[in-house]
Structures are given as C-alpha cells and as structure tokens.
Symmetry: D2
Subunit: 265 residues, 4 copies
C-alpha cells in the first residue's frame, strides 16, 4: 500500500547561514520510492551527503533570507514485519560491528543507569519479548502531551515525568532497550495516523529473526502506538534526536511554518 | 620512530558474561603495525568486529572466571603533521557525510549550550586557529588531577570544575570544537610521555589542509600536552568516552589490574 | 525617596486549587511601608503566614475560577548603603547560625563545583571585593536575553550559556559567592529601572561592615545593573528562585496576565 | 529506653581551615539528653551556633593539623509515635510558615518533576497513607548498596538506579513526599540497628495528627527500615544532605577515620 507524503516548511535567515536538512524518504531496500519531488529555494551552496549509516541523505545549504522546502513523494514500504515479541535476543558476542554503537549511551539516552530498573521491571524477558514489554510499559504509563518537553529534554526527564511527544517516547524506549543490551536507535519517519500530523519519531531495535537466514536485523517499534511499521517511511536514523532533525541551523534562524500530510492510499 | 607498546589487564567474571574489548593499535594507513601479539585467556566465545568508522577492531568475548589480556606491539606512526593553527575551517556545506555526526551532541559532550562561550572567548578565530586557541585555553585553565572525575563525569562538569584527567580534557576540547562548528571526536590511544603511564585519550578535529589535495581530514589534538601526535598510536575513535573503552562489561566484573608501557624507540 | 509600586496579575483555576502568593513589600526595618493596598478575588480559604526568615509574608489561598491580584504600595527604603567592595569577609567561624544555610548548595545554585573557578578567576580578592569582582565578571560576560531560560534553568546552565534574565543573573552571583564561602541568598523585589518592567530578582550577600557595630549584615547586589539598592523594595528572600515566587500553584493554573510598574517619586 | 551513643572521627588539615561540625544529639523537647560529653582537639577558634530551624547546634572551628572529635551521650527519645498511615494531610492553606520551605525543591530533591509519577503510582492516597505507600514502594523497589552513590548523587539518579544508602533513600522519600504536597525534610540522626553502624539519615514529614490539639507536626519515616522512630536520636535537620553533614570543610581536609556505635540499653 503506497504512502503519499506532502511536507513543507519555511524559515528565514538574517544573514548567510549553513543549514542541514533531512526530510526526504530514504532510498533503502525496505521502501520503494515510487515518485518524489523536492523543491528548495535558491541557495548560495547546496550539497547532498549520505546520512548516518548510509540511510537517506542530508542536504547542506548555505542561504540567506526566506528559504522554503516543499517535498512530495509516494513510497511503498516493503519491509518484513515479524511480531516483535517473537524475535530473539542476539547475544552480544554475535552482534555485528555496525550494531555495537547503538548499545552505548548517547546525548538523550543515558542507558547505563537504567540497568537496575529494566532488570526489576522486565526481568523475566529477553529480546523481542523484552522490547514488547518495554513498549507496553511506556504506552500504559505515559501521557502523550505536546508542550511538556522541548529540545533539551532527555530520557531521564521523560522517564520521571512520564509524558512527552513522539521524540520523548522514542528516547525512553531506546534507553530501556540499550539498558537491556539490545542495540536501539532513533528513527525519523513519516507515518499516517500521527495526530496532529507532523514529522514522526520512533525507535528501532536490533534483534534476531529465527525464521530468516542471517537473522540479526533492525525492527521498528513505536511506543506511542500511532505508527504502523507496515506504513512507516524512514527518513533517517541516529543515536537519538541529536543526530536526525529535519532542520539543523548553524546560526540563528527564524522558523516560519511547517506542514506534514501522510496518507495510506 | 617506532613506538613500543606493552599493555595488560585482568578481570574476573563471577558467571558467564559478555565483554567488549578494544585495546589494539588500529590497522589504518596512518600507522604501520610492525609487529603485534595479543594473548587472551580462553573464552567460551570470541569474535572480532570492525570498530567505529572502521578504525580498529572490537573483540567480543563471552567468558567466566579470571580473564587476562596481554598485548605487545611495535607501531610506526606515519601521519601528516601540519601545525593545527595553520589549518582552515571547512565550511559546513563542504563537509563530507561521515564528518557530520561529529558536529552533534553526544553523551558527555553536549556542545550546543557552549556556543555563546566559544563566540565570546575565541570569537576572532576560526578553524585550526580556533582549535589551537581552545587547546591553549584548556591547558592554561585546567589542572590535571586524577581522582576528581569518574565515568559519569561529562564536559559540563569538567568545564566548571576545570580539572580532570585525559578523558575530561578530551571531552571539553571536543565539546568546544563542536560548538564552533568543527567536527570533533574522541580518540583512545597509546602515547609515550603519559604520566602516570596508562591508556590515553585525546581529541581529533576535522579541518582543511590547504596544502593537501582534498583537504578535509582528521587531525589529532591533545589538550593535556602529554602526547605528541607524531608518536600517538590510535586504538579507536568515537563520539566520546561512551563509545571507546578498553573494557565494556555487560554484567558485573571485578577489575583486578592493568599496566601500560609505551616507549618511543 | 519613596517608591511607588503597582502590580497586578490574574490566573484561572479549573477546580479548587491551593495557591501560594508572595508579592507584597516586606514589612522589615530597612524599608518603611508608607501605604499599601492589596485586593484579592474572593477565595474559599485565605491565610497569611510569615515567609522565609520572617521577611515578608506568604498568602495561602484556595480558590476556583478567575483569581485577580491587585497591589499598590508606597515604600521608603532606608537601608545602609556601603560600597560593596569596602566590606570585609566574615570568617566562617564568626558567622551567625542564620547565615550558615546560605553557604550551602540549593536547587538552582550548586555552588560546590565552582570552587576551582572562583579561585582561578577571583583568587586575589575576598569579601566585598570578591563580590564586586563577581558582579563585574557577570555584567561583562553575560547578555540579558529574555526567552533563553525557563523555570528549570539553574546556575550551571546559565554559567555556560552566559545569558538569561534577572533570575539567572542572581543564581550565578549567589552560586559564585557561596563557592567563595560568602553566604548568599536570592531576593525577590520591586525596583525602578527594570526593563521591561516586571518582578525583579537580585542577590544578597552576608558581609562584615567594619564601620558598623556587630558588623555582619546582608547587602544587596544586582549583577544585571538595573536595580539600585537604594531604591529596591524587598518582597522576600530564599535560597534561590525555588523558594520565592510571586505565584506557586499546587495544581494546574492558567496564567492570564501580569503587569508591574515601579517608580521613584 | 535510653540510647547510648559513641561516635568519633578524625581528620587532618594541612593549613588553618574553617570546618563546620554537627554531630551532637539536638537538645529538643522530643529527646531528653541524660548525659553527654564532647571532646574536641584544640582549635584556633571554636564557636557554637544554632543549627537549622534551631534544631541542634553547629560547631565552627578553625584549626590546623590533626583534629579529633570524640562524642558520648545517653539520650532518651520521648516523641509521640502515631502510625504514619493514620495521619491526615494538612491542606496547604493550613500549613504554618515554617513548614512551607519544605515543600520546595532543594539541591538533591527536585520534587516538581515527580508530580505525574506520584499521581500515577500513589494516586488513591493522601497524607500519612501516601507517605506510608511511598515508604513501602521505596523499600520494595530499592537495594541498599553502599558504594553505588556519592556526595553528588541526588534523588533523580537514585530514583532511576533504585539503589543507594540511607542518604539516597531519604532523598527519594523527601522528593516524592514534596511532589505530593507534603512538607518533607532530611534528618541526620543516630539510631541502633543501622548496619554497618554509622551516622544515619532519614526523612521527616509534616502531617496532621487528628488526635492531638494543633495537629500539624513533624513525623519521622525511614524508608530503609533500619531505624525505629522510637529509638532515633536527632542530630539536625535540613532541606536535604546539602544542609546537614557531620563535617563540612571550607578547604581541603584529609579524612582519617570515623566510628559510630549506637545501642538501646
């Protein structure tokens, strides 16, 4: 089922400023880009570079004045969708090199201090069952409440306050998964059903699918329950929200507007 | 001039535990491994995986009881050694994809809040001059004082307390460089002259060498002043100390001893 | 010279809620209340209790719906105004019991970690000279910038970011004074010259006036430079902003408006 | 039943240094001092001042070289001991002025962010029932584990890590009580049954005893379960551990030894 995406945003730069953008559906095997169209305001410089782990692209621009981004795409997700709870833990000593960094603490996900908590709360589970238990725990203990968090909010504050938005839910899930020795990363994405419609963020965990040769792979999990993995279109990934923002400005910017619409068609 | 390295450490695991080790000189073009010998205790599992950005290797082991590591190597560093202050800033929009993640905040290096400070303190400088100014500022304002920091200490605390060990010096340098829009990462290494002799940590910044085709490259900087880039042997790199430790244990471990000796011969 | 104060604010409570108010000029020897008039909306309960260290009063109310506060007063400050830099350090062992708590860390003023900084930056000074040096350092390194801080911001973040509003300036001054073994507290006040006009916050330090018998006393210091101690009208004091707010609501409240006007007449 | 206390400690000061000591049983109505003997090394200065809220005394000394403290006392606690769970919440608007400061955030007890947690976890309870529920929750979720916390550890870290020593248990209880609009403070004390024997810390909450005229009073609670309120001898109180330490040194000190023995006789 193709997903139709329209997103646009605009900002103003008082003087020539470098800005990093990342808002396009990533060209990766698990999602087929049926069509896409990116319209950017004119810029002094514009360069595309591969994004983190080669998933998607970042666009560097250097511009001044009003800058507008308009993006439309039709994307067909084609990923495998095993039940998370059926997946097995990958023993640490079997983890490939590229998964290892996602076991470690990051800016908003200081996982190490959560080890006693995950042992106490989810002690009887491992692997996919552990992740499913974490997802249910967050879903049943947290309140989705825009305006209670901001760009400085990390998993510690969200865990204590038990509220936030998609970014905060993802940070807590990533943190508790890493504390369980399960590699976990942060995924910026588009998904239908996000309310209010906006750029979305969920988590991805590295687990073993016993029905698949090779086995170890990344699997999407959304603690907010708003996004279906089958309909999720990845933009990019990172350790946490510090790594993957649709707009990172290296200098002051005056953000004017954004709108996102995502539909399963 | 070859560098002769001897390092060894030992720990005890009460039950079968996964442990990640990273202590060998990385096999990378900028340093030639003349000889090396790694002796490990027997383990239930032992697997090597590429480390971050393919610089060096991590060794996964699963073991129980006493575990000993003994490493000897002779390594010839062959890196270019331009004067840091002579290097130019790379405009953000010219940065290659692989450098971008090192602009972002990490666990121990929350750079964004330091932007007003670097502007105020180092405002007239950019690029390599900025990095040299940061290095001098740290060197003249900090006291090298083992015992004043621990594994939880990040750049904020070190910046305020103005003291610490190599790890803390590197974190502050990395943080202030990133706040200056200069990609910076953390380097675990061996170097003669470290006092007391131990595993060492320094920073690496991505700058433009106008005398070299291509230009953008990583350059070592040690704010402690103890390590000469010409004699430094890299083990691995990461966003900060969270990523690159000689020993990361996924379960309790009883650390017994370590010794490091590094000599320029 | 009498100071004429008009302040008013309003908020809405969806259900019966306890609220603590503190907005009146304190009745203390150092300022004579020439006239005052407090008009409050009707409340289910209303009780006055002495505020911290018996300086001013707090008003407990329990109310529902729209609540309005209207306060007018004419106050004549009559405090001694020695030059801060002329005051002497009180040796710790000479400090009276009531000053001691203001040496300790509080919510927004974790002073202990700043000891190396104050030694390095202000090492040649003590007592009033030290406080004057701290005040000048803040004044010359900080930017007064509304919108860059919020209720969670403490002295660590302000010290690093080098910007904020009166609350943040006061927190940093209090923190650096305590790190210098000088008791310091936070003062909520009215003062002409505050721009934009609002409730104001400054610091107060406990120092020895060699020209006065007894000697040890509290002295006002404003690192923002906006308030003259001679024209400052104290509302109340506390360890930091956690203790002394014009409005603390024990349940949700919808804040509607506030206005403050203070004039020297 | 009288409690027999012996405590002693010693430290060395390389140069003349101000030190604040607080280790004696407080002379307050709820505990009768049957006998007491304090022996201090000679000091350049020595002065006693009332401690926080006039509970106990602090001793200022200025000394150099070896300093030894030896204290012996026999104390008879005589406090009322209602069952905590039977005590009623005091409505905020009925709280006396002196209790109000113990509702506010302090250095190690940033209570405000815990409001959603206490509502979710203890939502059906108020007053003494709430405090009892908090005490049971901590007792059943935390592990008493010396060496996992230090002087920088606050309630956020302890809450997440679910472990610590008496200081940490008290911080978490104080924090969760304040988040429940129950004034709570930190109590340094002696108590038999503390294992290993040491200075002890517990919490005290301000609640209403419906069987007593006046009603609002402070009541001891120990989340570690080690100290019986009937056998607890108070040394002093404070907002949290920042306020009440047996030894606060205004300059470097070399701590040599301490020993505490407390027996119910």
């Amino acid at each position: 089922m193709p997903i139709t995406i329209k997103s646009s945003f605009a900002f103003e730069l008082d003087r020539p400023t470098d800005v990093l953008l990342q808002f396009e559906a990533a060209k990766i095997p698990e999602q087929r880009i049926l069509s896409s169209d990116t319209i950017l305001s004119e810029a002094e410089h514009c360069a595309r570079v591969p994004a983190q782990d080669d998933i998607g692209e970042r666009i560097w621009i250097r511009a001044e004045g009003l800058f507008e981004v308009d993006y439309r795409a039709e994307v067909e997700p084609e990923r495998l969708l095993p039940e998370i709870a059926s997946l097995e833990m990958l023993a640490p000593h079997d983890m490939p090199g590229e998964a290892v960094q996602y076991l470690f603490d990051s800016r908003y996900c200081p996982a190490d201090q959560f080890q006693p908590f995950v042992e106490a709360e989810f002690g009887g589970t491992t692997g996919g069952e552990r992740v499913a238990a974490i997802r249910e725990w967050i879903a049943s203990h947290f309140t989705y409440q825009p305006g209670t968090s901001d760009a400085r909010t990390g998993a510690v504050e969200s865990f204590i306050g038990r509220r936030g938005i998609c970014r905060d839910y993802a940070h807590v899930l990533v943190t508790l998964a890493r504390a369980s020795t399960i590699p976990a990363r942060y995924v910026a994405c588009y998904a239908p059903g996000v309310e209010p419609p906006d750029f979305h963020a969920i988590a991805e965990v590295f687990l073993n699918d016993p029905t698949t040769p090779g086995g170890g792979a990344w699997h999407l999990v959304d603690a907010t329950g708003m996004a279906e993995p089958a309909q999720t279109v990845k933009i990019g990934i990172g350790r946490d929200a510090a790594d993957v923002s649709f707009l990172t400005s290296f200098g002051a910017n005056n953000f004017l507007r954004s709108s996102v619409s995502v539909e399963a068609t």
